[in-house]
């Protein structure tokens, strides 16, 4: 039998104003197991806590019930008090007689009656409590960042800066992401390369950071502090440590007609290539789909011209296994495909382009060396139509497009329109918009400048149809404020395509058991208060993989994610929550019901040998809970049809005892 002490708190007048605290402590005195009951003005104060400690000693208490505020507020406080008195902290129960009682009742009689009932329930539970000890697990002091865009770069730099090792896994041959493809960046119009490439170099030179480029994560096992990750380094047929990035091979390779993905297919590269001049790592890669040597065994030119002897046609994919304490997802975004948007004639005319293609067309390192020329005939366009919200803000049952606002396109369209008018004052620039959304620092001012200083024609309405006719693009659009249908003969049409998460994010989320929303953006643990953590412990989110963002927001989130990782890696050991599920192997029938409901992937199955009543042995499949992964949500205990799963600290018999006490 337990020896229980009951401590009723007044919380000043917060509780005592509506609950007769004296009556409560009197009534609870005669409950089974209770040997001491008292009340005090502020139980959480030093004096109140001392009162508990003394009572534990004097009355040899084995359990404590505090009738006070919500356990969210002071459960941790009273557990520490119990520990100071030499009791196991999990022998404390809180009856919430403030939020659930005095604050919601006006009448003293009702309030007091309910407080007594809640107190009885807590006492009934403590009677069944057992001491619990939290488990500990070590922390591997190394972080993994998946994705090497500006988000991944910033997160890695910040973690390395705090003294921890970081690996970046990037699936492309170079880090940099979409920002490396941009020309100038709103709202200050600094050149993207000028602010990004120094950071890329910092990453390359930082001895705490390793870059696995042209690589992908293929397997993730383990849990917070102790992830085991398998990384596939795809064969690039060039020895990374020998290649100097001189580019001799890329000039001599005879396979010249390979669409250049960095310029979105608007020009060609060779079969052996370095994506762009400032690539990190600056190492050549052979594209096996186009290389004549790899396909037909003929050629070998690059090996002949490479003075470093770096070419290796026999290179194979390599697998690396590494341990990490924390994983950051920074897999970014892509513009959606325009294939379904026939009305804009994207697949019919080369002069209908996406905004990202426009960035390359105006970039000094792009296919036209920065001159704004029509892709079809290389002529200078005089009339340019920009269309916002292409595929954004669509109805959920529409068969194309996304339901959300892509957030960045209003601003980059204003940027494109402004820069065009600045460089080519002889062009007529139209922007068709539904709304212009500019809620950012200096953003609205930026957009107004495009209109007022640069004379961009902003027209409220949407483009309905683009038809190529001769060398013109006939644009049919509505001008809602004038209630007119406009017909514009344009030379170039630019579509602000919606953005979506990278397609590889979904399988990656499955590997990480991290949750995603219906649009495949990673979900945060709390939309306001825990925006950079995933609900899966040890997995953090950085950049546009979590939702549309511009660079300032991406970088803020990237640094925030780094801070969370540093906080985790700074610990030597992680103390677990002892209130976790465990299965009674004798009762478990291995049905997998619990595994299916566990959102955290904490449950695995093992084959175990059992002695049967007739003294034979049998092998049965039984559930096992990984204590470091289980979050104690209890979903499995409800799903288990055989009653084998139970939650420590919230066991079924404890909950039923509470209910019985309330219903008596």
């Amino acid at each position: 039998m337990q020896r229980i002490g009951v401590f009723v708190c007044w919380c000043g007048s917060n509780i005592a104003g509506t609950v007769d605290v004296q009556a409560v402590s009197e009534a609870l005195k005669s409950e089974p197991g209770v040997v001491f009951s008292a009340n005090y003005q502020y139980m959480c104060s030093q004096a109140g806590q001392n009162m508990i400690i003394e009572a534990v000693k004097k009355h040899k208490l084995t359990g404590i019930v505090v009738c006070s505020c919500s356990p969210r507020m002071h459960e941790a406080t009273f557990r520490k008090t119990a520990a100071a008195a030499g009791l196991n902290p999990y022998m404390v129960e809180i009856a919430n007689i403030r939020e659930q009682c005095s604050w919601v009742h006006k009448d003293m009689a009702t309030g007091t009656e309910k407080a007594i009932i809640l107190g009885k329930a807590a006492i009934a539970k403590v009677n069944l409590n057992t001491p619990l000890t939290p488990g500990e697990s070590p922390v591997t002091k190394r972080a993994l960042v998946i994705g090497g865009g500006i988000a991944g770069i910033q997160t890695a730099l910040d973690i390395a800066d705090a003294g921890f090792e970081v690996d970046i896994v990037e699936k492309k041959p170079t880090i940099g992401g979409k920002m490396a493809q941009l020309d100038k960046t709103f709202p200050t119009l600094d050149c993207a390369a000028c602010i990004l490439t120094p950071k890329m170099v910092d990453v390359a030179q930082n001895d705490k950071i390793r870059i696995f480029s042209y690589s992908e994560v293929t397997e993730v096992k383990g849990f917070v502090g102790n992830f085991d990750v398998k990384i596939k380094k795809k064969a690039r047929f060039v020895n990374e440590s020998l290649c100097t990035g001189c580019g001799a091979c890329t000039e001599k390779c005879p396979m010249k007609k390979v669409p250049n993905e960095f310029n979105l297919g608007m020009d060609n590269r060779r079969a052996i290539y370095i994506p762009f001049a400032q690539a990190v790592p600056k190492v050549a890669t052979i594209d096996p789909d186009y290389c004549n040597m790899l396909k037909n065994g003929k050629c070998g030119v690059c090996a002949k011209v490479c003075t470093a002897g770096a070419i290796d046609y026999t290179q194979k994919d390599e697998f690396i296994e590494e341990k990490y304490g924390a994983i950051v997802v920074a897999t970014g975004f892509n513009p959606i495909s325009m294939d379904k948007f026939d009305e804009f004639a994207y697949n019919q005319s080369k002069d209908v382009i996406t905004s990202l293609e426009f960035e390359r067309l105006t970039n000094a390192a792009g296919p036209t060396a920065g001159k704004l020329l029509r892709p079809s005939d290389g002529k200078h366009p005089h009339t340019i139509v920009f269309v916002q919200c292409v595929g954004s803000r669509c109805d959920s049952c529409a068969e194309k497009g996304k339901e959300y606002c892509s957030k960045i396109c209003c601003m980059y369209t204003a940027k494109h329109a402004m820069l065009t008018r600045d460089k080519y004052p002889d062009t007529d620039v139209y922007v068709f918009y539904i709304d212009v959304r500019t809620p950012g620092k200096s953003f609205d001012e930026f957009y107004r400048r495009a209109v007022e200083e640069y004379g961009v024609h902003y027209i409220k309405g949407m483009v309905g149809k683009v038809s190529p006719e001769g060398d013109k693009l006939k644009v049919q659009a509505s001008d809602l404020l004038n209630n007119k249908q406009l017909h514009i003969d344009a030379d170039l049409v630019v579509l602000a395509a919606a953005i979506e998460p990278d397609k590889s994010a979904r399988p990656l989320a499955t590997m990480l058991t991290a949750s995603m929303d219906t649009n495949d953006f990673f979900t945060e643990a709390h939309p306001k208060l825990r925006p950079v953590e995933s609900p899966t412990a040890g997995v953090f989110l950085s950049g546009t993989c979590q939702g549309p963002k511009d660079i300032p927001e991406t970088v803020s989130q990237a640094s925030a994610a780094a801070a969370k990782v540093i906080g985790l890696l700074a610990k030597d050991k992680l103390t677990g929550n002892p209130c976790i599920a465990s299965s009674d192997e004798l009762m478990c029938n291995g049905c997998s019901s619990c595994e299916r409901v566990c959102a955290y992937g904490a449950i695995t199955y093992v084959d175990k040998e059992f002695r049967m009543p007739d003294r034979t042995t049998a092998i049965r499949r039984v559930a096992q809970v990984n204590p470091a992964v289980c979050q104690g949500c209890g979903a499995c205990t409800v799903a288990c049809p055989s009653g084998a799963m139970d939650l420590r600290g919230f066991a079924s018999n404890q909950i039923i005892a509470e209910v019985d006490a309330i219903c008596k």
């Binding site: 919200c389 529409a398 409220k460 049919q476 659009a477 509505s478 001008d479 809602l480 209630n483 249908q485």
Partner: protein
């Protein structure tokens, strides 16, 4: 909104199955509409005016008969509003009034033109009769 307008609005919404509140005022319907210049009220205005109960002017406008039922606006609307169904519902609420048929089956042979697609004939017949 007065009671009569409200009833008419409810009737049109029920007949068409369209929820005009889904419209985000982008104007893509009117941007795509091939009959735009013929119509006094344009597809986006149908949506807006039905929503605000300002239906009287639509009832008396020949826009109801200028719409080609080409359904381009339905196809293009990013919010799945289906403006042409509203045009059709307003039209029906007019021609359902006794004796206001604008076309009878007998008139059709005289109007047929080899170039005209079957679908347009069916559409026109649906449009100008009960």
């Amino acid at each position: 909104m007065n009671k009569a307008n409200e009833n008419l609005r409810e009737e049109i919404i029920r007949m068409s199955g369209v929820n005009p509140k889904k419209c985000m005022r982008c104007g893509k319907c009117s941007a795509t509409c091939p009959a735009f210049d013929e119509m006094e009220y344009h597809p986006h205005q149908f949506v807006n005016m039905v929503e605000s109960g300002d239906i009287e002017p639509l009832l008396n406008s020949d826009s109801l008969y200028k719409c080609l039922s080409c359904f381009a606006c339905i196809e293009r609307c990013p919010r799945s509003v289906e403006p042409a169904k509203l045009v059709e519902a307003v039209r029906l609420s007019v021609i359902r009034r006794q004796g206001e048929n604008h076309l009878t089956a007998n008139d059709i042979p005289a109007l047929i033109d080899d170039e005209m697609p079957q679908q347009a004939i069916v559409s026109a017949f649906r449009k100008y009769t009960k």
